[in-house]
Amino acid sequence: MNIEKILNGTELTIALDGRLDANTADELETEIVNSLEGITGLIIDLDKLEYVSSAGLRVFLLTYKKMVKQGEMKIVNVNEDVMSIFEMTEFTDILDINKKEENK
C-alpha cells in the first residue's frame, strides 16, 4: 500500500493506494498518529484503495476518535466495493464517508 500526504495549512489529505489489511494497517496507523498534531481537517482519500479489512477499519475508527477532539474527518472517493464494507459494518452511520463520483 502507498500512503501519500498533502498538508495545506491545518488541513491534511492522506491518499491511500492499494490494500489496507492486517499487514499494512500498522504502517498507516503510525503515519497518521505522527501527522495529526495541529490538524483541524483530515481528508482520507480512498480513490485508489482496493480493499480494506477489519485491521484497516480499526485505524479509521482510532483516527476518528482522535480527530473528533480537534476538528473534522472525512473519508472521500470510496469505490463501490470498499463502500460495501463500510455499509456492512455500519461505519457509514458514524463516519463521514463519501462515494466516488462516477463520470466526474
Binding site: 464494507i85 456492512m88 458514524i94
Partner: protein, 528 residues
C-alpha cells in the same frame, strides 16, 4: 605387551635449566629402546625455545614421543611452533563430575547431563572417544552451515575414565521431558518434531561429507536375513538394495530426547549419527525409539524416554500422519510397514550383537520382531515411498500461521478463484474471510508460540461454490461463538473487537466450526 616410558615435566623449562633437564631426561631414557615415550606435562607451566629444542632432540632418538596433560598456555606454544603437527600432543582436560547431575538426553554414543544452570556435558560411552568427539564437532558444524539449528560444543573435558564435550544450554528441555511434564503439549511436540525432520530431509549434503546410511542399513539387513528362511532373507536384502541412493541428510537417531526446546527455539542435538540417505532409513529408527524397542516389554520406553508406551503410540501415529500429510489410513499403514521392516532389521542385528542372548526375555524379543518382520515381508514389495511435497495437491496449503504469510495464503486462494473467474466484489469478500480467519489463527491459536495452519480450497463441480477449510492444531476456539459487535453505538463508544469475524460471516454464504482430533476446523462456503 608394549612398555611405555612415562616421564613428568615440571615447572619451567628455559635456557637456564634446559641443558640440565635434557641430561636428566636422557638419563631416565637410557635403557629405553623403541618403546613409546610419554611426557606428562601436567605440572609444566612454561617452555621456552631452548626447552622446545630439548624435546626435538629427544624425539630424534625416541621417535614415538607424545606429550600429554598440556595446559592451555603451554599448548599454545606447541601449537604456534608447529609441534602439535610433529607429534602427538594432548591438552589437559578439565575434569568434570556428573555425580548427581540430571540426565537431559541420551544418544547412540553417549549421555547428556546438565552440569550447571548454563551448561551440559555429553559423556561418551566409548572411553577412547577423542576421535568420536572430533567427528561429532565436524558434522555439527557442517549441519549448522547447511541450515540445521543445532548446538556445537565449546570444550572437551574428562569425566571419570571417559571424555565429554561441553555445550552451552540455557533453559533447554528435551521434547521427552516436555511430553512428560506438559502432556497437553503433545500435538505441539509432534508438529515441531515433523517440522525439524522436514528441514533435515530437505537438506542436500555435498558429496562425500557424510556417510551413506544405505551402507549401514544393508548391514542390518544382511545380518538379520541370516535369521530368516532363505526366501524371506533374500527378499529383505533385495528390498534394502533397491532403495535408491539419496544425497539428502538424515539424522540417524531421531527421537524425542534429541530434540530440545531452548529459548523459544527448537534445536537438534546428538549429531554423531548424521548421514545421507532415503527417509525410510530414518523412519525405521524413529519407529524403534517410539515402538520397536518396547514392543515386547512396554516398560522399556519409560526408562528410555520417560513417557509411557501409550503416549509413544499416539505420538508415532500422529507423527506419521503429519509427516506424510495425509489422513489416508492406507498410505499411512503402507509407509509404517516399510519403516517397521527397516526398524526390525536394525533391532534384530543390534540385539544379536549387543544383547544378552542367554536371557529368556532377549530371546522372546527377537522372536517377536522376527515374526512381525516375516509378516511384513509378505505384504511389502518395496521400501520406497515418495516424500510428500510441500503441497500435497494444489488444493491444500500448509503454512506457518503468521501474519507475514497472509499474502501467500491469499495468492493460493485467489489463484483458485482466477481459474474459474468471479467478480471483483466476490473476490474481495473471499479475501476478507481468508484474512480475518488466517490472522485470527496467526495471533491466537498457538500464542505465545507458533504453529502451522492448513488451508484447503475446493471448488465444486459446476464452479458455483468455493469451499475453504482452515485447520489448526492450536487452542480449541470457536470464533462463531463470539457475539456480534453492537453497530448501533456511536463512533466513540464502538469497540473494534469482533468486527473481523462479523465481517467474515457477512461476506460468505455459510460458515461452520468444529473441534475434532485436536484440530480447530473452520469451513467457509462462498457462492460464486
Amino acid at each position: 605387551m608394549i612398555r611405555t616410558m612415562n616421564i613428568e615435566l615440571k615447572g619451567r623449562i628455559d635456557s637456564g635449566n634446559a641443558p640440565k633437564i635434557e641430561e636428566e631426561l636422557l638419563e631416565q631414557l637410557k635403557d629405553n629402546g623403541k618403546e613409546p615415550v610419554i611426557l606428562d606435562a601436567a605440572e609444566l607451566n612454561y617452555i621456552s625455545s631452548a626447552g622446545l629444542r630439548v624435546i626435538l632432540r629427544i624425539k630424534k632418538t625416541y621417535t614415538d614421543l607424545s606429550i600429554i596433560n598440556v595446559n592451555s598456555d603451554v599448548y599454545e606454544t606447541f601449537e604456534m611452533t608447529g609441534f602439535t603437527e610433529m607429534m602427538h600432543i594432548e591438552k589437559a582436560y578439565k575434569v568434570v563430575s556428573i555425580e548427581g547431575c540430571e540426565e537431559v538426553g541420551r544418544g547412540a554414543n553417549g549421555t547428556i547431563y546438565r552440569i550447571d544452570k548454563d551448561n551440559v556435558v555429553k559423556v561418551y560411552n566409548n572411553a577412547d572417544a577423542l576421535e568420536d568427539i572430533q567427528h561429532e564437532r565436524e558434522v555439527a558444524k557442517l549441519a549448522l552451515i547447511l541450515g540445521i539449528p543445532t548446538a556445537i560444543s565449546y570444550d572437551v573435558v574428562r569425566v571419570g575414565e571417559s571424555y565429554g564435550s561441553v555445550f552451552e544450554f540455557l533453559n533447554a528441555q528435551s521434547f521427552a521431558k516436555i511430553m512428560v511434564n506438559e502432556p497437553d503439549k503433545l500435538d505441539w511436540c509432534v508438529q515441531e518434531f515433523v517440522k525439524m525432520l522436514k528441514i533435515i530431509h530437505s537438506t542436500v549434503v555435498p558429496e562425500g561429507k557424510l556417510p551413506d546410511m544405505k551402507e549401514t542399513a544393508l548391514k542390518w539387513a544382511q545380518r538379520t536375513s541370516e535369521e530368516l528362511p532363505a526366501q524371506a532373507g533374500e527378499k529383505l536384502i533385495r528390498l534394502f538394495e533397491e532403495v535408491p541412493r539419496d544425497n539428502h541428510m538424515i539424522h540417524g537417531d531421531y527421537h524425542t530426547k534429541n530434540l530440545v526446546f531452548q529459548n523459544d527455539e527448537v534445536l537438534l542435538i546428538d549429531m554423531d549419527t548424521l548421514a545421507v540417505g532415503h527417509p525410510v532409513f530414518e523412519l525405521g529408527p524413529i519407529y524403534n525409539a517410539l515402538q520397536g524397542f518396547s514392543e515386547y516389554d512396554h516398560d522399556v520406553i519409560i526408562d528410555f524416554q520417560g513417557y509411557n508406551y501409550d503416549t509413544a503410540t499416539t505420538f508415532w501415529k500422529k507423527f506419521l500422519a503429519l509427516y506424510l500429510k495425509t489422513t489416508d489410513e492406507k498410505i499411512i499403514r503402507d509407509v509404517e510397514n516399510k519403516a517397521r521392516i527397516v526398524g526390525y532389521s536394525r533391532l534384530i542385528r543390534r540385539t544379536l550383537r549387543k544383547g544378552d542372548l542367554t536371557l529368556e526375555k532377549t530371546q522372546k524379543e527377537i522372536a517377536l520382531w522376527k515374526e512381525r518382520l516375516l509378516e511384513l515381508l509378505e505384504v511389502t514389495d518395496t521400501l520406497i515411498f515418495d516424500e510428500p511435497a510441500d503441497e500435497i495437491n494444489n488444493n491444500e496449503l500448509e503454512i506457518e500461521a503468521k501474519a507475514e504469510n497472509l499474502n501467500t495464503v491469499l495468492d493460493f486462494v485467489d489463484k483458485k478463484l482466477e481459474a474459474v473467474g468471479c467478480s471483483p466484489r466476490t473476490q474481495m469478500q473471499v479475501d476478507l474471510a481468508v484474512e480475518e480467519i488466517f490472522i485470527n489463527i496467526a495471533h491466537y491459536a498457538y500464542a505465545p508460540g507458533i504453529g502451522n495452519a492448513i488451508i484447503r480450497a475446493d471448488i465444486n463441480d459446476n464452479n458455483s461454490q468455493l469451499k475453504l477449510t482452515f485447520i489448526d492444531r492450536g487452542m480449541p476456539y470457536d470464533p462463531l461463538k463470539r457475539e456480534d459487535p453492537d453497530l448501533t453505538l456511536p463512533a466513540d463508544e464502538r469497540d473494534i473487537g469482533g468486527l473481523g469475524i462479523f465481517m467474515t460471516k457477512k461476506s460468505v454464504d455459510d460458515i461452520s466450526y468444529e473441534y475434532r482430533d485436536g484440530c480447530n476446523i473452520l469451513v467457509v462456503k462462498k457462492n460464486l
